[in-house]
Amino acid sequence: MVVLDARGVKKSFGGVKALRGVDVTVQEGTITALIGPNGSGKTTLFNILSGVLPMDEGKVIFMNQEIGSWPAHKRAALGIARTFQNLQIFQEMSVLENVMAGGFRHTSSGFMAGGLSLPKVRGEMRALEKKALKLLEELELTPYAHVQAGELPFGIQRKVEIARALALEPRLLLLDEPAAGLTTKETLALARFIHGLKERGITVFLVEHDMDLVMGISDWVIVLNFGQKIYEGTPLAVKRERTVIKAYLGEKRAKG
């Protein structure tokens, strides 16, 4: 089943055409990777899919619903979660609170109920905390639960952001360069972890530069260049494809 289907997505910034009519589909239960040289429009596409950026033209269909014009918070409520290439962590909140915020869509109490501290509010906050603590344990973040997130090393902040996105219990998880800035060892652990997500039934769509990671875990790879999809296929097929090699290494190397 197709979870995400984006058609003819176009976006310009001033005169620069960042996306020139891109089609992508993501199948349920797969890990799909989006690759391409710098400036090819990967992050722009992710921003459009998650609703952070409006698109100029096109359609975004998620679970058979057209959500192209929905604001980000409504898309999140449907089960689309994401992480950011340049971390967007809540710096002065603790790691636990960051992850609790991720579970926001599973709570529902209003402003007045919160101020009056009705039993329902206390109950849902306890449930949120319990779930968050479980996620922290799973990601080996428990020792940092009460540390301010902004004070942690980069690699750990990345993990906090992934934990926060998972707290949303997403159907579709968009990971924007999850391995950037990680050590080789950390990247290997990340690869195992992402693979584990698939087994839990979470569909993963990721932007990544680390080719070993992409080729190792992806079921399907989509290649962008200059705002256009130039190829898509299995990792093996992508590795052999001339146009892809050309985009990455230039004309001459591809011929020789």
Partner: protein, 313 residues
């Protein structure tokens, strides 16, 4: 979190004892006005510290509370509770009307909009002579009473004011640790990330802004029905600035900042009697010094001292 409720208990004890032991009505009255200032500052602190937005027109909302409730009792003889309720609802509506378009935009549009609104409201207080009494003021505002018990002495009224201050703190502390508080803090650090977690950023900012304005109006209601005579200069731009200075001085990232900053700036004029014209300069100086030397405000300072003591023992 538990610590905050302990502090509130302590504040309650102090607030309920002080009117009994202060050596005279004058001091009780100072304490009463301090309570009103703190109530208004508390709302602004939620707005500034949690939603990351500034209002430069809170004096206007404070004035709306005072004038609407005051005029309804003075001209139409409405009972105070009903007049107060109408004043709070009307202020909430005006706040929502101003906040709705401005809070959808990122950046400090709310500051500009409230600055303008504060000035417009001040002009209305002066010009709507039939209702507000114009520059010479509105008199004949009814005092608060419950049956035959008139809350017209400083001591009695002080209990009313501080009871409401404590209830407002209780509500706000609950709010901060609830789901809404989590959302407000999250959007303060990253609106983009908050929105991708399902948080309707504009809605939360609007709610906290309206709540903040209602607290300001409540302060105005309390002021009007105690003093029973109000004139526009109380509700001018300088009071809006004074409120911002209270929050910055007290510390933006803790609700207790409103308490400390509000208390400090309420007492300051008592020591600066002879320097009345210099009050504006003193406020400016405080703002400057705090921002340079004490960015966390007084609550930040206390926290740092606490950490040092714990660290050295």
């Amino acid at each position: 979190m538990k610590r905050d409720y302990l502090i509130l208990l302590l504040v309650t004890l102090v607030a309920f004892t002080l009117p009994l032991i202060l050596p005279g009505d004058y001091y009780v009255e100072v304490f009463l006005f301090m309570g009103i200032n703190i109530l208004v500052a508390l709302g602004l602190s939620l707005l500034m510290g949690y939603a990351g937005q500034i209002s430069l027109g809170h004096a206007g909302f404070y004035g709306m509370g005072a004038y609407i409730s005051g005029a309804l009792t003075a001209h139409l003889g409405w009972p105070v509770p009903l007049a107060a309720l109408v004043a709070l609802v009307a202020t909430a509506l005006v706040a929502a009307l101003v906040g709705w378009p401005t809070l959808r935009l990122r950046g400090h549009y709310l500051a500009m909009a409230t600055l303008g609104l504060g000035i417009i409201l001040y002009i209305l207080f002066v010009q709507l002579k039939g209702i507000t009494g114009g520059a010479s003021g509105l008199s004949g505002i009814q005092p608060v009473h419950a049956g035959d018990l008139y809350l017209d002495t400083p001591r009695r009224y002080c209990y009313l004011v501080w009871s409401l201050v404590i209830l407002a703190f209780l509500f706000s502390l609950n709010l901060v640790k609830s789901r809404s508080g989590l959302a407000l803090r999250a959007l303060h650090y990253s609106e983009v990330a908050a929105s991708t977690l399902g948080i309707d950023v504009a809605k939360y900012k609007l709610q906290v802004f309206v709540f903040s304005c209602v607290l300001a109006a409540l302060g105005g209601v309390l002021y009007a029905h105690y003093i029973t005579f109000i004139s526009p200069e109380t509700f001018g731009f300088m009071y809006s600035i004074k409120l911002v200075v209270m929050i910055v001085l007290g510390g933006m990232y803790s609700l207790w900042g409103a308490l400390l900053g509000g208390a400090f700036l309420s007492l300051l004029p008592e020591f600066l009697h002879r320097l009345e014209d210099l009050e504006v300069m003193v406020h400016g100086l405080i703002l400057l010094m705090v921002l340079i030397f004490l960015p966390g405000g007084l609550t930040g300072l206390i926290q740092k001292i606490g950490e040092k003591i714990r660290g050295s023992s």
